[in-house]
């Protein structure tokens, strides 16, 4: 995999030139979409071509999977509560802290979740609430937006500090009938507040979940995730899931990597949440600053043409 990724890096420059030319001939609704399109087609090209090519000459006969059709898009332009046509807010502290011994109680209060200044703002607050020491929020698209395959991405500025655990992830829509991990889980981005330069992308399924999930970390070079916005995304097609941060593809997971059944061929829904504590990050300490904010600029999902 390492060799393959190295190849990808050399490819990025070449392919993006091609896409730039393509872009100029197309009409787009707005500029941000244009930029995103440029990026996703670039990554789409990498997926298929990276192993096969060693020069910058693109073989026009190759089939490139481009996820170019917007199927869901929330730019968070309407201030107030999150758009209920897309998002539901899960309330409470779940069972066993949402299965992870998380410490927060999720609410739908403005203090914990609000759309403001064209951003979705999820705030973790230190307060005694319904028997929990912290409050925060968790948004899901279950029953409202579910999709098989495509490009899922969000632009997020992350919070920070020991015990802070924001995530952008997908769960299989059959979660209620087959339960976890049979339903499958695609973690597009998970972050430990105490490691401000590192995020992880993971895949959980039957036989490869929790501690034995398929995971890879990505570390920023001379930068960190809590000082600016970064794009976290996957490109998910039949038999592959590619993980990227900004313009860097850092992992591809295929059925060959899975030590069990590949369950990523059915619709999934999206989750955005900001957890506090739990087994993955450990509890906050005296130096953890509260409140902590996770700011989401947009969530966009594309399907193949």
């Amino acid at each position: 995999m390492a060799d393959q990724l190295l190849l990808n890096f050399t490819w990025i420059t070449c392919i993006s030139i091609n896409n730039k030319q393509k872009k100029d001939n197309m009409n787009f609704k707005n500029r941000t979409q244009t930029n995103r399109f440029q990026l996703f087609s670039l990554l789409g090209a990498i997926v298929v071509l990276s192993v096969l090519f060693t020069s910058c000459d693109i073989d026009e006969t190759q089939v490139v999977t481009n996820f170019t059709t917007i199927t869901m898009q929330d730019e968070f332009h309407t201030a107030g509560a999150p758009n209920s046509d897309i998002w539901s807010l899960e309330i409470g502290n779940g069972i066993d802290g949402w299965g992870n011994k998380e410490l927060q109680y999720y609410t739908d209060r403005t203090e914990n979740v609000v759309v403001v200044d064209s951003m979705l703002k999820i705030t973790a607050v230190k307060e005694d609430y319904e028997g929990s020491p912290y409050t925060s929020a968790r948004l899901i698209t279950k029953g409202k937006f579910e999709q098989k395959y495509g490009r899922f991405e969000a632009r997020i500025k992350l919070p920070w500090g020991q015990g802070i655990w924001p995530a952008f992830w997908l769960l299989g829509s059959n979660f209620d009938t087959v339960s976890w991990p049979q339903c499958g889980e695609i973690d597009i981005m998970e972050f430990k507040g105490q490691e401000p330069t590192i995020i992880s992308g993971s895949l959980h399924g039957p036989g490869y979940s929790a501690a034995s999930s398929i995971t890879k970390s990505f570390e920023l070079t001379n930068n960190r995730f809590d000082t600016g916005f970064h794009i976290f995304g996957i490109e998910w097609g039949e038999d592959y899931i590619n993980y990227y941060v900004d313009d860097v593809l850092y992992n591809q997971i295929t059925p060959e990597d899975a030590d069990g059944q590949w369950v990523f061929d059915q619709p999934f829904f999206i989750i955005l949440n900001l957890a506090v504590g739990g087994g993955y990050v450990g509890a906050p300490n005296n130096f953890t600053v509260f409140p902590q904010e996770m700011l989401v600029d947009y969530v966009r999902v594309y399907a193949a043409q």
Partner: protein, 471 residues
């Protein structure tokens, strides 16, 4: 720690030779040239000092106990051929009990605005704690000094990062590096420190700055008009590995605000001027974000000092005054437990020291080494100020105690003279000058004064110019 300029005897051997050899090649800039900016060279020390104009470490002043013999280089380097090696002396080292100094850019200074941190690698011969590493100290203005205090070294090389709070302030900085080390953490055993690869870097891996003044607390101080400096200015920064580092920074990095500039003013360098009676709170911000902590100043206005004594020094035995040389004093507040509640908050206004007692019930002065022979003296003088309206029952009882033949407190041979001052002698909010004729016949070995409030509401007073005199 005083920071006097002193050039140590230490030079870097190789660099020293080169410097000498190259002196003849130096050329002045033409007068037509205009320098757009000062040099932006990031390196301070690699294998030798880099571009410091000369090669000296400037040591702290040996007069303050700084040891100038412990500076050296060593080929046990983190990178390259040489590292700085510092031998930290034991406190009883005849050449000085601690070591420290600065690397100074002896040119016009450097433009460090494009960097975000000073970094260096260091290790110790033991896991000692080094008092101070930092930059921004030039022994001249120290305007933008930053320090990392009590850094525990490892015996393996570790990279240390000292963030620059606001690089835009360092457009012409001369203080490239400072350290100071003693043996407080090693039980007075000497040890060695190696320092290598000192440079300024542009790191974007630290963030989440939290700034505080007064150590983050809301402090209150009662003062008279005069000057004081804001203290406890700190920043805690989250490093790329997720750990926090706390640095002490010069007040000049912050913006200060006084809630009432007619009472208290504060300048850009954090120097406070109390100009009138009243109350004002000083707060600070860094890059528009309010710093934690504040200083509320309760000003009593202009301090009017006690009258300057006029007795000829030849006729005086002084216990406490700035006008005469005082005898050897054991204490001005012995804090006699368990019944004494009196605390001291002595202060100085424009060079005039004043004894200040709070929570006063009783308190003593003692001068038993040696005791005072007041036989030739005729009076005891003191100036007393009760900083409030005079309570109707105001009392101040003064006991002068002679220790007798055994020259020690107690033993049955002590003799005392007891004087009770009342509202007729004491004053509220102004100095009362008290002159007590000495009636104690035995006064060759006077060793103590005891002051009591006699159960009155006098719980706070100032005292100055306490002396015997001969009329």
């Amino acid at each position: 720690m005083k920071k006097f300029k002193f050039i140590s005897y230490f030079t870097f051997a190789i660099a020293g030779i080169l410097t000498t050899a190259l002196v003849g090649c130096e050329r002045e800039f033409s007068e037509d040239i205009t320098l757009a900016t000062f040099p932006t060279i990031p390196e301070v020390f690699t294998d030798t000092p880099v571009n410091l104009t000369d090669e000296f470490f400037i040591s702290f002043d040996p007069a303050d106990g700084a040891n100038v013999y412990g500076f050296d280089t060593d080929n046990d380097a983190y990178k390259g051929t040489q590292a700085i090696k510092i031998d930290v002396p034991a406190p009883n080292d005849p050449n000085g009990g601690f070591i420290g100094g600065i690397f100074l850019d002896r040119g016009e200074g450097r433009n460090l605005t494009e960097y975000t941190a000073l970094t260096f690698w260091a290790k110790g011969s033991t896991t000692a704690s080094v008092g101070l590493f930092g930059f921004g100290t030039d022994f001249i203005s120290d305007k933008y000094a930053v320090s990392l205090n009590e850094t525990t070294l490892s015996t393996a090389w570790i990279k240390y990062i000292i963030p620059i709070p606001d690089p835009s302030k360092l457009a012409q900085e001369k203080g490239m590096f400072i350290f100071s080390a003693g043996t407080e953490s090693t039980g007075d055993l000497g040890y060695s420190i190696w320092i290598d690869e000192i440079r300024f870097e542009k790191l974007n891996t630290f963030a989440q700055v939290r700034t505080s003044i007064l150590g983050g607390v809301d402090a209150t101080r009662q003062v008279y008009s005069g000057r004081l400096v804001i203290d406890g200015v700190q920043q805690t920064v989250n490093l790329g590995d997720g750990s926090d580092v706390t640095i002490n920074i010069a007040p000049g990095y912050l913006k200060f605000h006084s809630s009432d500039p007619t009472v208290v003013q504060i300048d850009a360098q954090g120097e406070i001027t109390v100009i009138a009676a009243g109350s004002a709170t000083i707060t600070a911000s860094f890059n528009g974000v309010e710093a934690e902590g504040s200083l509320t100043i309760e000003s009593k206005g202009e301090f009017i000092p006690a009258p300057i004594p006029t007795q000829d020094a030849a006729n005086v035995i002084s216990i406490f005054s700035d006008e005469y040389t005082n005898v050897n004093i054991d204490f001005y507040n012995g804090y006699w437990q368990p019944y004494q509640t009196t605390t001291s908050s002595d202060f100085e206004v424009s060079g005039d020291n004043v004894l200040s007692y709070e929570n006063f019930n009783f308190v003593g002065h003692q001068f038993s080494n040696p005791t005072v022979n007041a036989s030739a003296m005729t009076h005891l003088h003191m100036d007393v100020l009760i900083p409030s309206m005079l309570p109707p029952n105001a009392r101040l009882i003064i006991t002068i105690k002679d220790f007798g033949a055994n020259n020690a407190d107690g033993g049955g041979d002590d003799r005392t003279q007891r004087i009770t001052l009342t509202t007729s002698q004491l004053k509220g909010n102004e100095w009362a000058s008290i002159d007590i004729p000495l009636t104690l016949s035995q006064r060759q070995r006077v060793g103590q004064f005891i002051f009591e409030n006699g159960g009155s509401a006098v719980t706070k007073f100032y005292m100055d110019n306490v002396y015997f005199y001969k009329q």
